[in-house]
């Protein structure tokens, strides 16, 4: 996976965030403040603009720029959190021009660790971590269980497992009572709704999968 692949991922993520904006905002209206879709759409629009002008040379530089842009443009809780996620993922990729699935896994792991450190959410707190952590775990398993790390079909399959885990993770937030972020103010009333950040994480990983299967 080269820098063009990662550029396509972010492009696809931007597209899907934009087309699902209303849905994400509606999820946030139920247990938050009705801005998650707008926030991410604004952020990814700024990202597209930044990538258009900067043209980063490596996957690492690209994802770091994505993260920095999100931090600079989104605001709210999701801005620093997603920003940190992409920045830490990018930094972990170093200067590599080509990234294997195994390398991607360790980088995403670093991204997840960044989110955890910043937001101190644990799994089960009803946040984006509930989608991100199982996704990283699924990728780890797929990498460990084999396949040819250089075979694109095997890579796509591994990423597909991660995307599926993210989606399941997002859905698993529905019965949870939120313990972090704005939804926690609702106490028991937060139960019965999907967490918007977990939903957007699932979208972003689905975009990765879509690009990997092209």
């Amino acid at each position: 996976m080269d820098v063009a692949f990662f550029a396509s991922w972010i492009e696809e993520a931007a597209r899907t965030v934009s087309s699902d904006r209303e849905r994400l905002t509606a999820l946030d209206a139920a247990i938050g403040d009705a801005d998650h879709g707008t926030n991410l759409d604004r952020g990814f629009t700024a990202v597209a603009h930044a990538l258009g002008t900067a043209d980063p040379a490596t996957p690492g530089a690209l994802l770091t720029l994505v993260g920095t842009t999100l931090i600079r443009k989104v605001g709210g809780a999701s801005g620093p959190l997603y920003g940190t996620f992409f920045r830490e993922t990018g930094k972990a990729l170093g200067d590599d021009a080509e990234v294997s699935v195994a390398r991607l896994h360790t980088a995403l792991q670093a991204g997840l660790a960044g989110v955890r450190a910043l937001g101190s959410a644990a799994e089960g707190d009803k946040t984006m971590v509930d989608a991100l952590a199982p996704a990283v775990r699924a990728l780890e398993e797929a990498v460990r269980d084999g396949g040819d790390p250089a075979d694109p079909t095997d890579a796509a399959e591994a990423i597909g497992a991660a995307a599926a885990a993210a989606r399941t993770g997002a859905e698993s937030t529905i019965p949870l009572q939120a313990r972090k972020g704005r939804a926690s103010y609702l106490g028991p009333r937060s139960v019965g709704h999907e967490d918007p950040g977990a939903a957007s994480t699932a979208l972003i990983l689905a975009a990765l999968h879509a690009v990997a299967t092209r």
């Binding site: 403040d33 009705a34 605001g75 709210g76 809780a77 801005g79 620093p80 313990r179």
Partner: protein, 330 residues
């Protein structure tokens, strides 16, 4: 959605242009969404920076001026501003005595201000941060993001701003800001939801006979829904919630705050009930505000904030202030 706006996407800059045009005492950086005092930093004075999502006007931009804030960063509607704005504001208002960040306790505000404080410190500005978390509707425990910052933000900004004006050092200004927060509590009740320009429809639906108890200032639903009842009873509910957390006694600073869509005549009706309630508990509103100060767009409803005063805080509250939304003594 029916709003007096040009475009849902330009609400914040359009409003900031209006603030700039209306208030010659302010300098407004519309591109970066920062409101400054026109006079710039004063050497030796601690700078006060606050900020948060838009939609709470006059908070925060309306509190920039002598005796209160030096700068306010405006985020998108209900979305905390970004670190770049805070860093820019922080370095611009530093008069060499350091800068106090006044941060309402929301995950977004906290994370963005934390990043900004770290980067500003790296740039050599001394920064202290004070968290405002006065909303008793949220149980502060391991199971929440902690109490929200609401009405007491005004108290903190006014009182810390007055102390900063005297040339007090950063640590002192931060101490008094934390003290005000520790002595303050708020509770809010909504009669209607609000509509963000981007979402275009009310964040939640309330029937004609219901109210939301324990709401914040972002149109988020409250902790419970309840039956609409006379103002007096709604006020008693709010006051009981405050009292349970911080006994209401002695001299208080009291604010009956409108959520944006409730007319002043109703806020005075609520204030009458607040005064009665306090009298019943042997407490006294030594100072008060009645009006729309910390709002939630067009939401109908009110919040009550109280701060237990002592002589120092009373003196600082009474000190001159000259901002668009709060002015006395000059």
């Amino acid at each position: 959605m029916k709003k007096l706006i040009n475009d849902a996407g330009t609400v914040v800059p359009d409003a900031l242009r209006g603030v700039a045009a209306a208030h010659p005492g302010l300098r407004v950086d519309v591109d970066n969404q920062i409101v400054f005092r026109a006079s710039g930093p004063r050497t030796g004075k601690v700078g006060l920076v606050s900020g948060g999502g838009s939609g709470h006007e006059p908070l925060h931009g309306g509190f920039v001026g002598y005796g209160m804030l030096d700068a306010a960063c405006a985020g998108e509607v209900f979305t905390s501003p970004v670190p770049d704005q805070m860093i820019e504001a922080t370095s611009a208002v530093d008069g060499g005595a350091g800068v106090l960040h006044i941060v309402k306790n929301y995950t977004g505000d906290v994370l963005n201000f934390r990043m900004a404080a770290e980067l500003s410190a790296e740039e050599g500005v001394r920064v202290e941060s004070v968290l405002v978390d006065d909303d008793v509707a949220v149980r502060d425990s391991l199971y929440t993001a902690g109490r929200r910052g609401t009405g007491a933000t005004l108290f903190v900004e006014k009182i810390a701003g007055a102390l900063a004006e005297t040339g007090a050092p950063l640590a002192e200004v931060a101490r008094v800001a934390r003290e005000v927060n520790a002595r303050s509590r708020s509770f809010g009740i909504a009669l209607s939801s609000c509509t963000t320009p981007a979402a275009g429809r009310p964040t939640f639906e309330l029937s004609d006979t219901e109210v939301e108890l324990g709401i914040g200032i972002h149109g988020e639903p409250g902790r419970t829904r309840s039956a609409l009842r006379p103002a007096r009873e709604l006020v008693d509910l709010a006051m009981d919630a405050l009292h349970e957390d911080l006994p209401l006694s002695g001299d208080l600073l009291v604010m009956v705050n409108g959520m944006g869509g409730t007319p002043l005549i109703e806020l005075y009706i609520a204030y009458a009930a607040v005064a009665d309630h306090l009298a019943g508990r042997g407490a006294r509103a030594a100072r008060c505000l009645v009006g729309n100060y910390v709002t939630s767009l067009d939401m109908q409803g009110f919040s009550v904030s109280v701060c237990r005063l002592d002589d120092e805080l009373t003196g600082l509250w009474d000190a001159p202030v000259e901002t668009p939304a709060l002015r006395w003594g000059r």
